[in-house]
Every structure is written in structure tokens, then in C-alpha cells.
Symmetry: C2
Subunit: 612 residues, 2 copies
Amino acid sequence: MKRSLKTVLLGKPLLAQDMHHECLDKRRALAIFSSDALSSVAYATEAILIELLFVGTIFMDWSMIVAIAIIGLLVILILSYRQTIHLYPNGGGAYIVAKENLGETPGLVAAGALMMDYLLTVSVSISAGVEALTSAFPQLHSSSVSLGLLAILLITLGNLRGMQESAKIFAIPPYVFIFSILALIGTGIYKLAAGELVTQPISEVVRFSYEPLGLFMILKAFSAGCTALTGVEAVSNGVPVFKNPKSHNAVVTLSWMAGLLGIMFIGITFLAHALHILPSDTETVLSQIARATFGTTFFYYLIQVSTTAILLLAANTAYAGFPRLASLLALDRFLPRQFTSLGDRLVFSNGIIVLGFLAGFLIVIFGGDTHLLLPLYAVGVFVSFSLSQSGMVVRYWRKRPKHWGLSLSINLIGAITTLTVLGVIAVTRFVHGAWLVIILIPLMVIMFKKINLHYKLLGLQLTANAKDFVHIHEPLNMLVLIPVSGVHKGITRAIRFASTISKDVVALSINTNPESTARLKADWAALELNIPLVVLDSPFRSLSDPLIKYISEKIDEFPRKEREVVLVIPEFVTARWWHGFLHNQTAVLIRTYLWWKYPELVVTNVRHRLRF
Amino acid sequence: MKRSLKTVLLGKPLLAQDMHHECLDKRRALAIFSSDALSSVAYATEAILIELLFVGTIFMDWSMIVAIAIIGLLVILILSYRQTIHLYPNGGGAYIVAKENLGETPGLVAAGALMMDYLLTVSVSISAGVEALTSAFPQLHSSSVSLGLLAILLITLGNLRGMQESAKIFAIPPYVFIFSILALIGTGIYKLAAGELVTQPISEVVRFSYEPLGLFMILKAFSAGCTALTGVEAVSNGVPVFKNPKSHNAVVTLSWMAGLLGIMFIGITFLAHALHILPSDTETVLSQIARATFGTTFFYYLIQVSTTAILLLAANTAYAGFPRLASLLALDRFLPRQFTSLGDRLVFSNGIIVLGFLAGFLIVIFGGDTHLLLPLYAVGVFVSFSLSQSGMVVRYWRKRPKHWGLSLSINLIGAITTLTVLGVIAVTRFVHGAWLVIILIPLMVIMFKKINLHYKLLGLQLTANAKDFVHIHEPLNMLVLIPVSGVHKGITRAIRFASTISKDVVALSINTNPESTARLKADWAALELNIPLVVLDSPFRSLSDPLIKYISEKIDEFPRKEREVVLVIPEFVTARWWHGFLHNQTAVLIRTYLWWKYPELVVTNVRHRLRF
């Protein structure tokens, strides 16, 4: 039953030799690695506009300037990551680059930041995907959180099945998205030029704040827009799955991705600016642009649906990255070793399940609001960007390969830029949630180190030397204690077991009623066993207290190496689970308490099955 | 820690010989046994008015006629219960009377009805007590349910401590209540006669229903008012604690109680009628009368507070009755035997706890509304009245003592009257909740019988005859299986234990990684133990599936009588509880699954404590 439900949901178990790595050509690779980066155009422009709107509608023009600055940052990042791809053909995630070049602690900081990134990629993408859907179908607006959780459930189950096999299908939505967004930008600009689009002039100066448009507000808008850059590192992590020449193909794919991202981001920001679109609670900026350009036609719905689809794919990519990173960390003993085990379907099931739970938790906590999650997202992403770049700088400095000067300069510019941006984000977005990540990352590093220490100490404690096996051939000297409630069928096997394993057996009985104790004594004598019956008085009528007291005394009487105390508990197994309520559960109580107080006590349950 | 928290809340454990029964004189007995009955005047008049108001304000005059009919019923009940007191000087609860004279099933019906009564006494009295309080302090109105739950918590804790000892204090509130209600009635009538109270004429005919005031509506009002009679049986249950001559003193107390109840009930109903008081959602009828008579003075608050106090005492009486009845039923094997055990403080703790939980549950479900609970209450009370009276009739018929004709006639009239009233309540209040009790009581009887059957079958299954002990002196033939993950300190004790208890030991290892398996094989051989190591392949990487399969095969290989399979599980005990997450919990999984599939499997845990 358990097995069959699992099989229906997740498919049949797979043999280890079934694992195969298919190599991807550039077109498929672009589809797979770009969904995270490209999908961020669905929310990045809106994030800038929200910040500017806060200062006042007359300042919305600044959106283009901010977008252009972000494109500049994109160029620096791409140049830097080209170099990472060449130097780390086996995949250069920030954890590996930082650990190798900067040391363990920076590596762990990068690991913590990356785990936050993956988690927020899921939560942000799912929230934004649901928003794209509810913009088109406003009647779904009230079910946003439920829809988000449903999407997480389906993606989690899909990944537990192992979804890589269907990657060919996953190549379609990104191209549909790219095509429809480019068509939107083209049509929008043409219709604007032809004067076919009526733009309503923003006559009123709506001001939500009396702060002037100072540098701080511009930097805030800039850091909000930096979420457009999330996901650009994906290609550098995935170099090994490219077709040969791997690094070359990866760099070409990276450049295409960056080009598309830049055009789409600047195009959408331009249209939002030209059409005087203001962010709204119920409809995304992208949906407003599409509706203004195409009307509520087929093309409009195509844009919304393909936006949702690419955002779900972006969430899906984190389901590959998070469990892989968790398994790397677990192999290095920084996370519980359960993250290294491949499940039935050859995926890191534990990592997938943990990611699903945490992402669902975030969706519920933040009510599925993309723009509340974005400040958290941006911090993590730029922490890993800057550590990765700094690691590259150190590497060039140490190794000094051919043309190292130029390469080092590129990464140095990358490192300084990303560190600066990180500072800007941390300061301007601190009160909006960035503080949470700034607290969480150090806590995660401490946790990684504590776990590592535990495993190291475990090894030390368990490693056996010759001395530990000196006595292994000698039988144990055991005192066997067996609590009995009366002479009946339920105790016969337990008594046989006890007298089989030791000559030193004592039966224990609690005297709560003199009559039944007298009867028990007589019945016990009649059995003519070589086992003394000790009757324990219970002044306060407790069944467990006198037993626990007696057993504790016996344990403390001798050092454990000289005599082991073994508790044999005769138990009933009732025919129906609810019958359990009709019996004293004293055995469970005693076992739990003694295990807590004397972990080394050997406890054996000899159970008698009731037939009805 | 556990013990000390318990001691602070409940007091020190008591020795069994500390139990003492203090005999009560009539004055103390009246205070203790009357609180349930007398407190019902706090809601019974209001219950009648609510029904009449539903037909229309012009019919409120009927309230006096209904109240007089109820007083007639009270007289019949008192005459009947005088006889029960004389015949059952050891306490004649409906369960005992019905079981002795009518048979097991009627006895169990009475028991079910009584348990419902006790439960509803708590819920109704607490709700009404809170309403008396919130009438005086309307700002508490929104916290009604919380106040009710708090009261239940305090009463439950008090009873777990054993509150009988403070019964002297409990004698005060009933007399304060009696005094203040009698003062209210006297003052009210005097002021009415002197024309000092301005009664507002009800000019408008407010009609909430277009039903005519037919017989059905009058009967409905009558059955609502019958809740005034709840608790009159209390004295007959408590005869043993009276001073000698017990029966005589009990009868005198019963008569006093009935007299006071009759005067208070008719007096309050008369004042409500004369002052034209209408039931309201936020203020009780009694509070309205008191406010009209005294104004919002000290006397008004005295009435409200003493009403709350006597209602809490009424709830408290059920905390003595319910656990005692549950222990009687448990002794007769109709309820789990845990209800018979006296706790630390010489009270039936389990019954007290169950009652507290159920009463709290009802308060939450019904939102603390007294008048939603009353229809349930009335049905249970009259089921036990009629079974008790019928039992007495049968008893007189069988035994035929001196003057049996008269006595039988009195109880026959009682039985016929209470059965008729029960029918009236069941029909007129069916849709208002009576149906629930009508369904629940048979379900409880079925449950009692099922429990009884289980204990009978248990006895049959466990009773051992000579045949069962034939083999008890022979050692068991045991195959000991011990799963090992590697050769380290954590398994040495488990191996010694296994080879101590049997010569037939097999170590089991799961092959998930050829390298570590090869190392384990070499390490194992180096130990030079006389224990074969069986390596189990795990094609789908599960740790538990191959183990479970192998153990199952070994269990099924021989009948259990020829060879027992003993599973010895080496386990770690981590130094911190959260370290448990860093280890595979395979042992727990295997144990749980095998216990479920093979309950008779002997499982032993030999644990190794990690120091850090």
C-alpha cells in the first residue's frame, strides 16, 4: 500500500546504472539555463516603478536611467562570468569558487547565500507567476496563496519523480516567452511611433512621501531593479552538461542570454515609461503594457500564460540547484548526511522536500507578494556574486596564468561593483527585509560549522582501536529484570526469553492491592521457576515510580562494565488499535523515562498478540 | 522537574490511609448537595420566557402557569426520591437502581444519561455563571468563552488536588445565594405592593412566529423550564456521607432543598412576570430583576456574584459525581480500567481530566451559550429520572415490603410522570439539540458493551492452563539478527549482547557503496568473531527495504514455536536531541514497520551514548 501510493505519485524505483547525463546543444541549454534570468523581467521593471512611485509620479522618468545603469552592471557581470566558465569547466558555483580560493568560512557564507537564493527563486518566481495569472484572470486573485502552494506541490512531486527526462518539453516555454515579449516590444514601439497608442498624460503629481528625490531614493530604485540580474550565474554552474567544446558553447549561450535579457528589460521599462504605466496591486506592469498594446486579445493571454510558464520553470531550476548544493555541503559534512542519499528515482529527495516546505512556508508568511520577497532575494544574490568574483580575483593573483593581468582586472571590477551594489542593497533595503537575510546567513554559517563539528567528534568517538575489542568475545554479565502483572499467557514467552538469556533473572511486581499480590505470589510459586519475585510497594499507587526506582538502584549498584541491566517488558499487542486505550500504557512510560535517564539500559519488548 | 511542577499544581502525593470520610450534618449537607438544584433557578425562568417570547409578548403571562406545573412535578419527584433514600442508604444513583432492578442494558442507558448529565452540569453551570458575571460587567461579554475555559481549568486543577478538604468554605456561597435571592423576592414583592416599582407596560405585541399559542408551544415552554429540576437527585446519591440517622437526615435535607427551590423558582418567575421582563442576549433575566428591584447597588452585585459562585459550585459537584460513576463503570468493566485508579491525591484523576476536557469542548462548540446547551441537558436528566423511578417500581413489586402498595404507587406516579415529561422534552426540543443526546446515549451503551466484551475476551485469551506452562522451563531457540553499518565502538556492546544470548547470530549489512562494503568485510573478518556477515544488496538504495525483506524471510522460515527471531538494533544516543537529525533514523523506521507486520518479533535496542 505504502509502496504502491509512492509508485503512483513518483514512478517506479530506478537502478543506479540508469542514471545518464545527456549533453545539451546551445539551443536547449539556453532554454534551460535562461529561464531564471529572463523570467526576472516579469517583475524587475515593476520593482523600480514601485520605488519611484513612492517619491512621486513626476519622477517616473528616472526609470529609464536606472534601467540603463542595471544594463551596465549586467555587462560587467557577464564579462566576469565568462572567465569563471573557462576556469571551472566542471561547474563553478559560488560555493566552490569561494571555498577553493577564499577559504572555508567565505565558502560557507557563499553556500548560505546560495541556499537562500535558491529558496527565494522558488518563492519569488511562483508568486510572480501567480500574479501574472491573476492579472489575466482577476477572479483568481483571492486564491493567490493557494495557487502558489499548489504550484509548489506539483513542482516538488515532479522533481521527486525526476523531471530531467522531459527537458525537451521544457525548452518550449522559454522560446514562446522570448518571442512574445520581443513581439510586444516591437509592436509597442511601432504603435507608439505610428501614434496608434493613446497615452494618458499623468497630469497630477501624486506624492506618497515628502522626501525629495535624493540619491538615496535613486539608489533604492536601482537596488530594487537589480533583481533583474538574478539567475545570470546559472550558465556557469552548468558547464559540464554542455556539448563539446563545453566552455566555448557555454560562453556563447551566456552572451545570447545576456543580450536577450538586456533587450527585454530595457524594452519593457521603455514601454512602461512611454505608456505612463503605474504599478497596481491587482495587475502587473507587464500585464498592463500587454493589455495597452494588444488589448485583451489572444496575444495578451499568450504573454500572460508564457510569463507564468517561464516563471514556473525558473522555480523548477532551483529544484535542481538546491538539492545538488545541499548534497555537496553534506558530502563536506556541513549538512546532515541524509542530503547525500539518492532516492528511488535517482534524485536527492530530501533536498527537494526541504526546499518545497521552506518555499511554501515563505509564500504563506509573505502572502504570496512578490515585492515583499524581492529585498531578501537581492541580498543573497549579490552576496554570492561578490564572493564568486573575489574568489576569481584571488585565484588569478595566486596562479598568474597567461594574460592574468587583464583577467584579474575584469574580475576585480566585477568584485568591486558587486560588493558596492551589495552595500547599496543592504543599506537601502535594510528595513524592507534585507536585515533578515543579513541575520540568517551568519546563523546558517554557524549551523554548518556546528554540524561539521558534530560529525568530526562522532568520528573521534566511534573510531575503535584494538582496546575497544578486547572484551568482544566475552559474554556479558547480565541482570535481567522482568515486570509481571500476573501469571497469565501474556508473560510466558517473556519469561522464557529472560531465562534463556541469563541465569540472573528477577521478576518485579507492584503491590497496589494486597489481595491480588497474594494471589500473584501463590501463582508464581506454583510455576516452580528459578526466578525470584520481588514485590515493590507503591504507597502513592503509581505503577511506574516504584519500578523506575528499583531499576535505577540496580543499574547504579555496579559499574556498567561489570554488569549490564536488561529490562524485558512483556507487552500486549491489541487486535484493534483503539483497544490500546483499555490498557495501562505503563510500559511505554517506563521505557521512555528510563531511556531518557539511562540511555545505555538494554530494553527488550516481548510482545503477546491478542487475537480479538 | 516533572514531579516538582506536579507538586506545585496539585500538592504532595497522599498515602491511601489518609483517605477519610467526614460525616456531614444537615446544614453542611444542604449546602453541598443543593448547589446543583438551587443554581438552576438562575436560568430556568429565562428558559421559559425565551420560549414564550418566541410566540409573542402577549403570552408571557403563561410563564406563571408553566412554573406552577413544574412545581407540581417537583413535588412528585421529591416524594419518589424520599423512598429511594430509604431503600438505598449506600447511595442510590440511577445506574445502580436501574442495573439492580431493570437489568444491565437499562442500567447502562442510565449510566450513559448520567454521564451526559454530569458533563452538561459542568458546561451549563459554567456558561450560566459566566453570563451572571457578564450581566454585571458587560465589558467582559466578549471574553465569555475564555472565562468559561479558565473556570473549567481552575475547577479541574482544584479537583485533581482533591478539594473535599475545603468543603467548609464551600458551605458559604449557597447560603449567601439563598439569602440574597429570598431577599430579592421579598423586597421585590414589597416594592411592587407599595407601588415603588414602575413596571413598563408591554404595549406592543411583539411576535417572532406566526404559530398560535397551541399546546405544543406551552409544552415547549414547560420542557424548557424543567431544567429547574436538574440536580434534585443529588441528595439520594449522597446518603452515606450524612450523619446518623443517615436516611432520616437525608430526607429532611431533601425536603428543605425542595422547599427552597420551589419558593425561589416561583418567586423569580413571578417577579419576571410582574416586572414585564423580557429575555435579552446581554443580560440575564435574574440580573434584570435584581437591577429593577435594587438598582445597580451593592445588593445587585451581591446577587450576581453569589449566583456565579453557586453555579461554579454546581459545576464542581459534577467533578465528584462523574469520576465516581466512571470508576463504578470501570470496576464493572464497562469503561477503561484506568478510571478506577486513584491518583497521587486520592482522587480519580483520569475521570476528572476527561470531564474537564469534554466540558471545555462543549463550551467552545456552543460558544458558551447556556440556552443552546439546555435542551441536551434536560433529555439526559429525565432519562435517568425515569429509569430510576421505574427501577424502584420493579423493586417494590418484587420485594413487596410493608406498605409496598403505597410506595409502589408513589414511584409509579413518578415513573409515569417523568417518562411523559421525557417524551414531551424529546418531541418539543428534538430539533434544538435533544436529537444529539438521543443518538449519543445508545452509542455510549454500545461502547460500554464493546469495552466489556473486550475485557471478557482478554480474560479468556490470557487465562493460562497447565498446557501453557509446559515449555516455560525450556530455553528458547533463537536466531539473533544484528544490522551493522561499520566496525566502530557503537556496535561492540550490541555484538557482545547478541553473542551472549545465542550461538546463532547473523550480522547484516546493506551494500549501498561497494567500497565501504569491502572495507566493512575486511574489518569484520579482522574481528575474528564467530558471527557470519550477510551483505544485502540494495538496488534502489533503500536502507530499510532489504533489511525488512531479509528479516521477514527468516521469520517465515520456521514456525514461531520452533525458532524465535530476535532483532538486536545498535543505536546511538546523541548528546543533544537535535543531533538526532544528523543521523539516519533507519532503526526507528525498521522497528516500527516490523512491529506492525510481526508483532511477536522480539526487538532489543542496545544503545551507545555519544558524549558530545
